[in-house]
């Protein structure tokens, strides 16, 4: 089935496949863990049982999503070694300690307090339970911090020297952790996780509102989700723009690919809205473009010159079309989210938030949009980093383990079958949990609370 692929291509496909599946779950659980902490805190503070109903409802969903995130994540921590051992040997001294900190300060925290958060309220009391819930939420944010530092360092390496074996030797940890793209990437991703979760919550609420718009819990979560969307979507667009400017400074080739700028524009580059990049002919076919707008966005000046891919050696260019399209998908969804946010403000102002059936329908359609945007954004930045693993310094082709193509192909097929089976079933269970109406004891056949010991 994969006869024509090299071991390198197969290993890249395997990494892309397993990381894409994995990132879906953290993107959801970062937002959901924090949502749960807020719900529990609001319940303790106000005594309003609606918050408690919502906490118990989303807790079950969180448990399933979190388990899938854990098991798909363990795979990642070993794949660096099985398929990318040369990268691990060379970059390990820098990125390894950052990942060790992720395990020590995040994974253990989440895992250690998850049991108490899910099963322990009656055993430890409300205060300690709140503490455990907050620790799980804090753990998800710590995890994002460290792993985005690792990824950002691979994009914009800093604070190191090279030794005779070609290893990256850490010299300045502050510069490594807070490398140039890290603050932008972290902010962009954490907000993306919050947006993703709020659209899932909003979509589930919209689904139930279409059937019964009087349920207090449904109304509450619809309102909370759309406040989040309305406030955070514009912030995300602003942060994304800053992140793009940072990329232009440090990884200009990636921006050329995102923009589809095959040619240099000495007196103002156009913004290509749509088109089909033709890599063979080095041009964008059927381009719909606005003159000079790209220079205005990227350089804040209509006539500012922008270099194109014609200034770059072909061997140093990423695949253009993938980066071009995935970037447009991400941006398109971002603006759609902004639209839903504004619409919800209008409906709220008119007092029709819980009766606006079309808003509810659109919320249902938009429920998975955050996942698509997160994947598209990651594809943009990761494919845009090619052909390097450590940008500008270590080529992907020089990072590969001494693996034979058949071994990688076999394990790739095994991962594909396992992931579609396991995570397909998991998604089915998640959707079924979401189909239950949020109310006291919503899940059939289950005791509402654990008995005292």
């Amino acid at each position: 089935m994969f006869d024509s692929f090299s071991a390198e291509m197969l290993a890249r496909m395997q990494f892309a496949f397993t990381i894409s599946f994995h990132i879906i779950f953290p993107a959801f659980s970062i937002g959901l863990a924090n949502f749960l902490a807020v719900l529990n805190a609001l319940w303790l503070a106000t005594g309003n049982d609606t918050y408690r109903v919502l906490f118990d409802y989303w807790k079950k969903i969180f448990a399933v999503a979190f388990a899938m995130g854990v098991v798909s994540g363990i795979t990642m921590s070993y794949q660096f070694g099985t398929n990318w051992s040369v990268f691990s040997d060379k970059a390990g001294p820098v990125i390894g300690p950052l990942m060790a900190y992720e395990v020590l300060s995040a994974f253990f925290l989440e895992a250690g307090f998850l049991g108490i958060m899910l099963f322990g309220r009656e055993r430890v009391g409300h205060k300690l339970h709140m503490f455990a819930t907050a620790m799980v939420a804090f753990g998800t944010l710590m995890s994002a911090t460290w792993i985005l530092s690792v990824n950002s360092w691979m994009q914009t390496p800093a604070g190191f020297a090279m030794n005779d074996q070609g290893q990256f030797i850490p010299e300045d940890w502050w510069a490594i952790v807070f490398n140039p793209s890290f603050p932008y990437r972290l902010t962009h991703m954490v907000i993306a996780a919050f947006l993703t979760t709020s659209f899932v919550v909003g979509g589930v609420a919209g689904w139930h509102l279409l059937r019964d718009h009087t349920n207090a819990a449904t109304r509450k979560m619809f309102s909370m989700a759309l406040w989040m969307a309305a406030i955070v979507a514009p912030i995300q667009i602003f942060v994304g723009d800053m992140h793009g400017l940072n990329t232009l400074e440090h990884q200009p080739v990636k921006v050329m690919a995102m923009e589809g700028h095959f040619d240099s524009h000495p007196d103002g580059a156009p913004l290509i809205l749509f088109g089909i990049p033709n890599e063979a002919e080095k041009r964008v076919d059927y381009a719909v473009q606005i003159p000079k707008l790209s220079s205005l966005i990227l350089k804040h000046h209509l006539d500012a010159p922008l270099d194109g891919l014609d200034t770059i050696d072909d061997a140093d260019e990423p695949p253009i079309a993938i980066v071009f399209f995935s970037f447009r998908i991400m941006v398109g969804i971002g603006f759609a989210m902004l639209g839903v946010g504004i619409w919800s403000l209008w409906a709220r102002y008119q007092g029709r938030l819980y009766d606006a059936k079309w808003l509810h329908r659109v919320a249902v359609i938009m429920a998975p949009s955050g996942f698509v945007a997160v994947l598209a954004g990651w594809i943009t930045t990761e494919v845009g980093r090619q052909p390097f693993t450590v940008y500008g310094l270590l080529r992907t082709s020089e990072s590969l383990a001494p693996v034979a193509a058949p071994a990688v192909a076999t394990s790739l097929i095994a991962f594909i079958i396992t992931y579609f089976f396991v995570f397909g079933a998991g998604t089915f269970y998640l959707l079924r949990l979401m189909s239950y109406v949020p109310e006291n004891n919503p899940f059939p056949g289950e005791p509402k609370e654990i008995a005292h010991v």
Partner: protein
């Protein structure tokens, strides 16, 4: 005489040992699952580890992530060498990990996730045993890379260590359930524990006898002074643990068999440590050669010294919260 690399070798060894004994008993429950006949007993056994399995498995991530951080060369050599057993173990852990949640989400497919739990737990344990055996056999290294073939890990010896770990984990699982349950399931597990203990000890004996044949260096490490002074303590303590285990099982004790089984695992792990030191990957890669530069070791150590005691503290607290016998009527789900 101990430098940063040695300290880190000790920390990684601690993480791997912690993984082995903690995930050991919950994988053991998966291995014993087919012998639990009623759905209620299976629910109870699974619930006894539901609040802690995730934390237990985190030690495996710590072992892998820690190895990458401080011994990147060892990580880069051992994982390609064990490509197939490691990949199989990861897939197996996926099936058994999701089974904890999925099992409660469906009536019709519950038997399917039971099979995923049993198969995943048993396969993961077997692969870990194979990995151990393959390491003891030794891994070919040339030019900072794995230099052997794709099937080097497979041998009668590694299959034997695979079985040894499956039986040993089953012993941990059985004695855990003796400690956590009452009534029928307690009696059933107590009955199983004796043959499992005999099997575990017999396999430990056979593996120990065969180990020097893999490489004569192991023999020297055990039987030359001054190591011999230390190395003789291990079998002596193993005898003590064995005595406590059988006495506890026979006299109806609930906690001591589990603690004795844990001790047996810890002692075996110490024995492996004596065989390997000063190498991290037998027969030729030493701890010193594999170590990351000092700047990496120092940076990672600062946080570890602060965070590891905290982790042990709140992990112990989580176990304390869910201490004692399982209430048969209590469902966590």
């Amino acid at each position: 005489m101990f430098d940063l690399a040695d300290i880190w070798a000790a920390i990684i060894a601690f993480a791997v040992l912690t993984y082995v004994i903690m995930d050991g008993f919950d994988l053991g429950i998966g291995i014993l699952f087919p012998f639990l006949k009623t759905e209620h007993e299976r629910d109870l056994a699974m619930n006894s580890v539901a609040p802690v399995w995730d934390g237990n498995e985190t030690w495996l991530v710590m072992g892998g992530g820690g190895l990458l951080a401080v011994f990147p060369l060892a990580y880069a050599i051992v994982l390609p060498a064990l490509y197939m057993p490691i990949t199989l173990m990861l897939l197996a852990l996926i099936f058994r990990g999701v089974a904890f949640e999925f099992r409660w989400r469906t009536k019709r497919w519950k038997p399917v996730w039971d099979v995923a739990f049993i198969g995943g737990s048993t396969t993961a344990a077997f692969c870990q045993g194979i990995a151990l055996g393959a390491l003891v056999q030794g891994i070919k290294v040339a030019d900072r890379a794995y230099a052997g073939g794709w099937w080097d890990w497979l041998s009668p010896f590694s299959i034997l260590t695979g079985f040894a770990v499956v039986i040993g984990y089953a012993l941990l699982g059985a004695t855990w359930l003796v400690m956590k349950t009452e009534g029928d399931i307690n009696a059933q597990m107590r009955k199983y524990a004796t043959p499992l203990a005999i099997g575990t000890l017999a396999l430990i004996g056979v593996v120990s006898l065969l180990t020097p044949l893999q490489n004569p260096v192991y023999f020297e490490r055990w039987f030359t002074w001054p190591q011999m002074g230390f190395s003789m303590i291990v079998p002596a303590l193993l005898l003590c643990a064995t005595y406590v285990l059988f006495k506890g099982l026979r006299s109806g004790k609930d906690v001591s068999p589990f603690l004795a089984s844990l001790s047996i695992f810890i002692l075996c792990f110490a024995g492996i440590g004596i065989s390997f030191y000063p190498n991290i990957i037998p027969p030729s890669l030493s701890i010193q050669e594999a170590a990351a530069p000092d700047s990496s070791l120092e940076f990672a150590l600062v946080g570890t010294v602060i965070l590891l005691p905290l982790i042990l503290g709140y992990t112990a607290y989580a176990y304390w919260v869910f201490r004692g016998k399982m209430d048969p009527d209590e469902g966590y789900h």
